[in-house]
């Protein structure tokens, strides 16, 4: 019995073991090149905010660098980055939400797309992003982790949940996304 969709890309996390002895800067650079697209992609799709996603990406790697600087290079830097960036994404999203709620409404969000919005992708991707926008940040994180090839058990570990709870969470998140996509298709 296998999952219906075989991951077409390697889950983040395999790189790193061969880099244990290299200098810090080289280790950080190699780890960055191996995992930055995964971390930034996760942050971007989960937060839908390119600036916030870049900030999360930078901080995740700086924290990894601090670990390495103190002789604690993770055996699996990809998994370490996933866990750290997942925490950062959700906590930043929460704080951003609170800040928006408490701050005066000085900015209009109804204007033309900002240049960085282009990063959100083409029209087809915008449809998916719009559907994703109806989900909670935790739902989005779980879905993007899955789409990057993480198994259900790995996602449970990144989210700090039991596999059973994660299965329920992810199943419902997929159902919510499907329903949102159908609603958008029905209104076009």
């Amino acid at each position: 019995v296998v999952n219906e969709i075989e991951p077409t890309m390697e889950p983040v996390g395999a790189a790193g073991s061969d880099l244990a002895a290299v200098p810090l800067a080289a280790w950080v650079a190699a780890t960055y090149d191996a995992h930055a697209a995964s971390v930034f992609g996760l942050a971007l799709r989960a937060t839908r905010d390119p600036e916030l996603a870049a900030d999360v990406t930078q901080e995740a790697f700086l924290r990894l660098m601090t670990e390495g600087q103190h002789g604690h290079r993770p055996d699996n830097p990809g998994a370490w980055l996933y866990r750290t960036s997942t925490n950062l994404i959700i906590s930043r999203a929460r704080r951003a939400s609170v800040a928006r709620r408490l701050a005066p409404r000085l900015l209009s969000h109804d204007g033309p797309d900002r240049p960085e919005d282009v990063a959100l992708g083409n029209e087809q991707h915008r449809e998916l992003d719009a559907a994703m926008a109806t989900l909670s940040v935790a739902d989005r994180v779980a879905l993007v982790l899955a789409s990057q090839g993480a198994t259900g058990e790995e996602i449970a570990g990144y989210l700090g949940r039991s596999p059973g709870a994660t299965r329920t969470h992810l199943t419902r998140a997929r159902a919510r996304l499907r329903a949102a996509v159908l609603r958008r298709e029905a209104t076009r």
């Binding site: 296998v2 999952n3 219906e4 969709i5 077409t8 200098p23 800067a25 950080v28 650079a29 960055y32 090149d33 930055a36 995964s38 992609g41 799709r45 390119p50 996603a53 870049a54 790697f61 924290r63 660098m65 601090t66 600087q69 998994a79 750290t84 925490n87 906590s91 929460r94 609170v98 928006r100 709620r101 998916l128 992003d129 926008a133 109806t134 909670s136 899955a146 789409s147 990057q148 198994t151 259900g152 790995e154 996602i155 449970a156 570990g157 700090g160 039991s162 596999p163 059973g164 299965r167 992810l170 199943t171 419902r172 159902a175 919510r176 996304l177 499907r178 329903a179 949102a180 159908l182």
Partner: protein, 658 residues
């Protein structure tokens, strides 16, 4: 028979998890005859494929430049100034010890052997009147003599300040008394490009704070600075000072609390602090000290009589009845004259999951249940219910919308509350999923992912649980930011308590988080149980009891179960299990006249039950109900539980224990 909804659910689950052979056979069997269900599965796969196409995105080039250049700078750093500072601090402490030994100080305070607080008496978290932006609370570690784990402060960001940074004053207070400026004993100051020390000859602190056992020190910084770590030590003027409590807040508060652990008498207490400037350009390792005079012990409360849990419970499954068909019960509440359960009823008319419609049941005897009418609840699982003096409140997360509440005077006829903006998930200020609700004094209090709602009747809702004049209003935000799922609200000893899991903590995995609504109308933070993560909590004859697990940092690893008990305040102790708790998950809990009952399942999915009088020790129930219990309430002589039957059928199930 497999419903379309279950087939859809299995199709979605199969994308990420390996189905059991039985599930696979069930799914394949259903899809063989259901073309619509096959199309649903295709839809799920299409969504997954689209997501994969946009899942990997290269970040802007400046991010790589910033990370790699920072790594290069750190690699070339040749001098570890902090080791120098640490050595200097040890030498300084030895110098002070020598000075004390020869009587160099005019006034030599009594330095007593300080024991960790082990007291059943309630401790109140004091929030001083001068309120900074946030308060975090630390408890002494189980091994009070243990050194705190090595702490690595974050690196200050560049560029460094153009002017030499100065070290801020630290104000220490106890209770509502005015704070005292702590005596400065030394500091190491670090910026992006410089490191240095600013040591002083340690002077005996002049001001004395008055305290009693159970009080807390509140340490405050002026604006522009925040705490990274706080450690309290006794015998602070000697090199062999004993660590008493340590904390590493994650939200960088301007105020932290640490327990007063000194014995009656006068002591010097030292604080080793890491602080950071708001612009993150300056990080300071700071040592300060105060004198404290501790009064006599607080009286112990009269313990409440404990339930007798030696008499076996007899669980009985309430017989199937028409109102149970094609339905799932998720929660139950006990009112003065009835039980009210909520969940959903499968309509099976939609093929895209969430085909349940919100449903309710009412029973006056726990045996015969009647379905209620819940309007505007399509595609919705009602996830919680609670009782108020004039009726009942139910809540749910409505997919694609957000939060919804329903109110009913009798548990039968419900009205959906009009929406307010913070209910909606599409609003930037939406509070998203409802997590719990309780009646407190004169209103319902509910909280979601990001905030609180209040309502006098369950229908008219407003945002926020606003603190009284004189409180720290920013505590609302601080509390909201750390109370995350599972979480809930309780009223213990007449005090509102919100609990959750700060699973966004970057330093402690799944850190428990609790907050109390004090008599003064303020929020005060507690850490909650230590060494694990609660998933359910209830009041007990002696205060509070919680069940949960010990987080494991390995992906997919079994999370060992755990339980804790508390007299109802910030002090928690771990529970013991006899026999030793096997691999099992603890999921729900109920407490009443027959003690406390915790239900869960073992590694094979078989139900397990545990009983305790007060949460200190638990014994296995030899005959737990053979199903999955999702919610338990106490009855006059036992318990009533709702959930799913042992076959996993979609049929509402009720068990009663006498």
């Amino acid at each position: 028979m497999t419903t379309h909804a279950r087939a859809g659910s299995l199709s979605a689950a199969a994308l990420d998890f390996e189905l059991t052979p039985a599930e696979r056979a069930e799914l394949d069997g259903h899809r063989a005859t259901c073309s619509a269900c096959r199309s649903v599965a295709v839809g799920y796969r299409a969504d997954a494929a689209k997501l994969r196409a946009i899942a990997f995105v290269e970040p802007p080039a400046w991010v790589r430049a910033a990370v790699v250049s920072t790594a290069s700078r750190r690699q070339t750093r040749s001098i570890d100034y902090w080791k120098i500072i640490a050595v200097a601090a040890v030498l300084l402490a030895a110098l002070v010890a020598a000075a004390i030994a020869i009587g160099a100080f005019d006034h030599r305070p009594t330095i007593v052997e300080v024991l960790p607080v082990v007291s059943p008496s309630p401790q109140r978290t004091a929030v001083p009147s001068a309120q900074p932006s946030a308060v975090l609370v630390a408890e002494p570690s189980a091994d009070a003599s243990a050194e705190p784990a090595a702490y690595t402060p974050p690196a200050p960001i560049c560029p460094a300040p153009t002017t030499a940074p100065s070290v801020p004053d630290v104000t220490v207070s106890v209770g509502t008394a005015p704070g005292q400026k702590a005596t400065f004993w030394g500091a190491g100051i670090r910026t992006c490009s410089t490191s240095g020390t600013d040591d002083a000859v340690p002077a005996t602190p002049s001001a004395i704070l008055s305290a009693k056992p159970g009080d807390r020190f509140a340490l405050a910084l002026p604006s522009g600075w925040a705490f990274l770590q706080a450690v309290a030590t006794d015998q602070a003027t000697t090199s062999d000072a004993t660590t008493r409590a340590a904390m590493e807040p994650t939200d960088r508060p301007t105020q932290v609390e640490l327990p007063v652990t000194a014995d009656p008498g006068e002591s010097i207490v030292g604080f080793d602090l890491w602080i950071i400037s708001d612009d993150q350009r300056v990080v300071v390792g700071l040592s300060v000290a105060i004198r404290v005079s501790v009064a006599g012990s607080a009286p112990s409360p009269t313990p409440a009589p404990l339930p007798n849990v030696s008499v076996p419970l007899r669980w009985t499954r309430v017989g199937d009845q028409p109102s149970f068909a094609d339905a799932t019960m998720t929660a139950v509440a006990a009112g003065p004259d009835r039980y009210v359960a909520v969940g959903c009823a499968t309509t099976a008319t939609t093929l895209t999951q969430d085909v349940c419609t919100g449903a309710s049941w009412m029973s006056t005897d726990g045996l015969t249940w009647t379905r209620g009418t819940v309007p505007d609840a399509d595609h919705t699982y009602l996830s919680g219910v609670t009782a108020g003096p004039d009726g009942y409140l139910a809540w749910a997360f409505v997919p694609g919308f957000g939060t919804a509440f329903w109110a009913s005077p009798d548990g039968m006829t419900w009205r959906r509350a009009p929406s307010i903006p913070s209910f909606s998930v599409s609003q930037p200020d939406g509070f998203v999923s409802p997590r719990g609700a309780v009646w407190y004094r004169d209103r319902f209090i509910a909280f979601g992912d990001y905030g609180f709602w209040t309502s006098p009747d369950g229908l008219a809702w407003s945002d926020g649980l606003y603190v009284a004049v004189g409180c720290d209003t920013s505590m609302n935000e601080a509390v909201q930011n750390t109370l995350t799922p599972p979480g809930g609200l309780l009223v213990v000893h007449g005090q509102l308590l919100a609990w959750g899991v700060d699973w966004f903590s970057d330093t402690v995995r799944d850190r428990p988080s609790m907050a109390r609504w004090t008599d003064a109308g303020c929020w005060a933070r507690d850490d909650g149980p230590s060494g694990g993560t609660p998933v359910a909590m209830d009041t007990s004859a002696r205060g509070l009891v919680a069940i949960g697990y010990v987080p494991v940092a390995k992906a997919g690893a079994q999370q060992p179960p755990a339980a804790w008990h508390s007299p109802g305040d910030a002090a928690w102790d771990p529970s013991t299990f006899a026999p030793r708790l096997p691999k099992t998950s603890l999921e729900t809990i109920g407490s009443g006249a027959r003690g406390i009952y915790a239900a869960g399942s073992d590694a094979t999915g078989r139900s397990t039950g545990w009983r305790s009088a007060d949460g200190t020790t638990w014994t296995a129930d030899p005959s737990p109900p053979p199903g999955h219990l999702s919610s338990i309430v106490a009855t006059a002589d036992g318990f009533l539980a709702v959930g799913t039957d042992e076959q996993g059928r979609i049929v509402a199930s009720v068990w009663v224990a006498h």
